[in-house]
C-alpha cells in the first residue's frame, strides 16, 4: 500500500495560499462582526424606543421633512430636524457599541463638512461657528468614549480600528480647514477656532490609537492573528479603491501627489506582509492599519482638493457674473 500512502500524503499537502487564506479569514472576521449573535438583552433594552421610532417613521413618510433636512446647514430652518431627529434616529438604530461609535464619528465629520461648506460660501458667522463647534465636540467626544468602552470590554482591535479611522478623517479635514483659512481672510478667525477643536480631537485619537497599537503589538490579545489578517484585507481593499478613485480623476495637479502618497501606503503594506510572514502579527496589524489610514487620507484629501478647485472656479465666475448662484461643495466621504 505504499502508493496509497503516497497518494494520501500528496493530497494532504494541498492548502490555500497565504493570500487566499488571509482573504477568506478577513471576510469571515468582517462578516462575524457585522452579524452579531442575537442577544436577547440588547433587543430588550431597545424596546422602549420602539414607539418613538414608529412616530419618527410616520413623520418621515408623512411630510418628507426629515429627508429634506438631511441637506440643511447650520442656520437653516430645517437644521434642528437634521441634528435632533434624523441623527438621533441613526444613533438609536445602531445596535452595537461599534455601530454606535461609527455613527457618532460620522456625525462629527458631518459637522466639519458643514463648516467647510459654509466657510467656502463665506457664511460662517460667529454664532454658527459656536453651534458647529459645540456639536462637533459632542459627537467627537461620544465617538471617543465609545471607542474606550469597547477597549474596556476587551475589544482592543475594534477600538484601535475605530480610533484609526476617525484619525484619518480628522487629518484630512484639519488639512482642508487649514487650506480654507489661508485662502479666506475674512473668516480666518472662525475657521481657525474650529481647526483648533479638530486638532485637539485629532491628537487624542492618534494617542489612543498609538496606545491600543502598542498593546496589540505586545501580543496580549488572542485575537491578534485574526485582526492582522482582517486589517490586511481592509488595507488591500482600501488601496485598490483609492487607486480606482485616482484613475477616475485623471486631471488636475493634485494627481501626482496623490499617486506618491498611495505608493507610500503600498510600501507600508509590503512591510506589514513581511511581518505577517515572520509571525509578528501585532506589528503587522499596526502597519496594515497605517497603510489603510494613509490610503484613506489620500482619498479624502484628493476629494476635497478637487471639490475646492471646482468651488474656487465657480466663485470666480460668480464674482464675474455678479449673479447670486448657490454654491455647494460636495464632500463625499466614506
Amino acid at each position: 500500500m505504499e502508493k496509497f500512502e503516497k497518494i494520501i500524503n500528496n493530497i494532504k499537502e494541498i492548502s490555500l495560499t497565504p493570500e487566499d487564506k488571509a482573504r477568506i479569514l478577513g471576510s469571515v472576521v468582517s462578516y462575524v462582526r457585522e452579524t452579531p449573535v442575537r442577544e436577547p438583552g440588547v433587543v430588550k433594552r431597545r424596546w422602549h424606543i420602539l414607539p418613538a421610532v414608529v412616530m419618527l417613521l410616520v413623520v418621515m413618510l408623512g411630510g418628507g421633512i426629515s429627508m429634506a433636512a438631511n441637506d440643511a446647514l447650520p442656520g437653516d430652518f430645517l437644521y434642528p430636524v437634521k441634528v435632533s431627529v434624523n441623527e438621533k434616529m441613526e444613533t438609536w438604530i445602531a445596535l452595537s457599541a461599534e455601530a454606535d461609535a461609527k455613527v457618532e464619528a460620522k456625525h462629527a465629520e458631518e459637522r466639519l463638512e458643514e463648516a467647510e461648506e459654509l466657510a467656502v460660501r463665506g457664511e460662517i458667522k460667529a454664532e454658527v461657528k459656536e453651534e458647529v463647534k459645540a456639536n462637533f465636540k459632542k459627537k467627537a467626544a461620544r465617538a471617543r468614549a465609545l471607542a474606550e468602552e469597547l477597549k474596556a470590554e476587551g475589544k482592543l482591535e475594534t477600538s484601535a480600528r475605530l480610533n484609526s479611522e476617525f484619525e484619518s478623517v480628522l487629518v484630512a479635514h484639519e488639512r482642508i480647514l487649514s487650506d480654507i483659512s489661508e485662502s479666506d481672510d475674512d473668516d480666518q478667525e472662525e475657521i481657525n477656532e474650529i481647526r483648533g477643536e479638530v486638532g485637539g480631537y485629532l491628537s487624542a485619537a492618534a494617542e489612543a490609537r498609538a496606545r491600543n497599537e502598542s498593546e496589540i503589538a505586545g501580543g496580549v490579545s488572542v485575537n491578534v492573528t485574526a485582526a492582522a489578517r482582517e486589517a490586511l484585507q481592509a488595507a488591500l481593499e482600501k488601496i485598490e479603491e483609492v487607486e480606482g478613485y485616482i484613475e477616475s480623476h485623471p486631471k488636475g495637479n493634485t494627481r501626482p501627489e496623490a499617486i506618491a502618497r498611495l505608493d507610500d501606503s503600498r510600501e507600508i503594506l509590503l512591510q506589514g506582509r513581511g511581518r505577517l510572514e515572520s509571525g509578528a502579527y501585532g506589528e503587522a496589524f499596526i502597519l496594515f492599519q497605517r497603510a489603510y489610514r494613509m490610503a484613506q487620507e489620500t482619498k479624502l484629501w484628493l476629494n476635497i482638493q478637487n471639490s475646492l478647485q471646482v468651488e474656487r472656479k465657480e466663485n470666480m465666475e460668480k464674482e464675474n457674473d455678479g449673479e447670486d448662484k448657490e454654491i455647494r461643495v460636495e464632500v463625499e466621504v466614506e
Binding site: M1, K3, F4, K6, I7, I8, N10, I11, K12, E13, I14, S15, L16, D20, K21, I24, L25, S27, V28, V29, Y31, V32, R33, T35, P36, V37, R38, E39, E153, G154, K155, V222, N223, T225, A226
Partner: protein
C-alpha cells in the same frame, strides 16, 4: 461570553480553512469555486450559530455544510467536474495513470483517489486524508456508522487492487 463564541468560531475557521479547501477542491476540481465554497460554508455556519443554534462538532458540521454547498452548486450550474466524469464512466487509461504517478502532486493524487467510485472515495478521503472518526464521517455524509465501516473496508480493498 458571546464574544467568546465569535472568537472560537474565527479560530476554528483558521484551523480548518486549509482542510476544508482541500475537501472542496477534491469535490469540485476547481480551485476558484473551491475557495468560494469554503467562504460560503463559513458564512452559513456563522448564520446558524448567530441565530443561537448549538453545534456539537463544528468540524463535522463544516464538512457537512460544505458537502451540501457542493451539491447545490452541481444542481445550480451543472458544472462538469472530474467527480461527475468518473461517475459517468470516464476512465483514465493505464498509460495516463502511469504518467500521473510519475508526477504526483496534490491535485493529481486526488484524480488517482477518484479512481475509486465516489461513495468509497469519499469515505477513504475523510478517513485517511482528514483523519475523521467513523462517527464523524457518518455525520458528514448523513449515513450510519455501520455503512461507513463497510464502505471503508471495501474501499480499502479496491484501493489495494488498484495500486498494488
Amino acid at each position: 461570553m458571546e464574544s467568546g463564541k465569535e472568537e472560537r468560531f474565527i479560530k476554528a475557521c483558521e484551523d480548518y480553512a486549509d482542510a476544508l479547501f482541500r475537501y472542496s477542491l477534491y469535490k469540485t476540481s476547481d480551485r476558484e469555486l473551491a475557495k468560494d465554497l469554503v467562504q460560503e460554508c463559513f458564512t452559513r455556519t456563522w448564520n446558524y450559530l448567530a441565530a443561537g443554534q448549538e453545534v456539537e462538532n463544528l468540524r463535522a458540521f463544516f464538512y457537512r455544510t460544505l458537502g451540501n454547498l457542493v451539491i447545490d452548486e452541481y444542481r445550480k450550474k451543472k458544472s462538469i467536474s472530474l467527480d461527475r466524469m468518473l461517475e459517468g464512466g470516464y476512465d483514465i487509461k493505464t498509460e495516463e495513470l502511469e504518467q500521473l504517478e510519475n508526477k504526483l502532486d496534490g491535485e493529481r493524487a486526488i484524480t488517482l483517489l477518484k479512481k475509486l467510485s465516489r461513495p468509497y472515495a469519499d469515505v477513504v478521503y475523510l478517513k485517511y486524508v482528514e483523519n475523521l472518526s467513523n462517527q464523524e464521517i457518518a455525520q458528514v455524509l448523513g449515513e450510519s456508522e455501520t455503512a461507513v465501516a463497510v464502505k471503508l473496508h471495501r474501499g480499502l480493498k479496491k484501493m489495494k487492487k488498484l495500486f498494488e
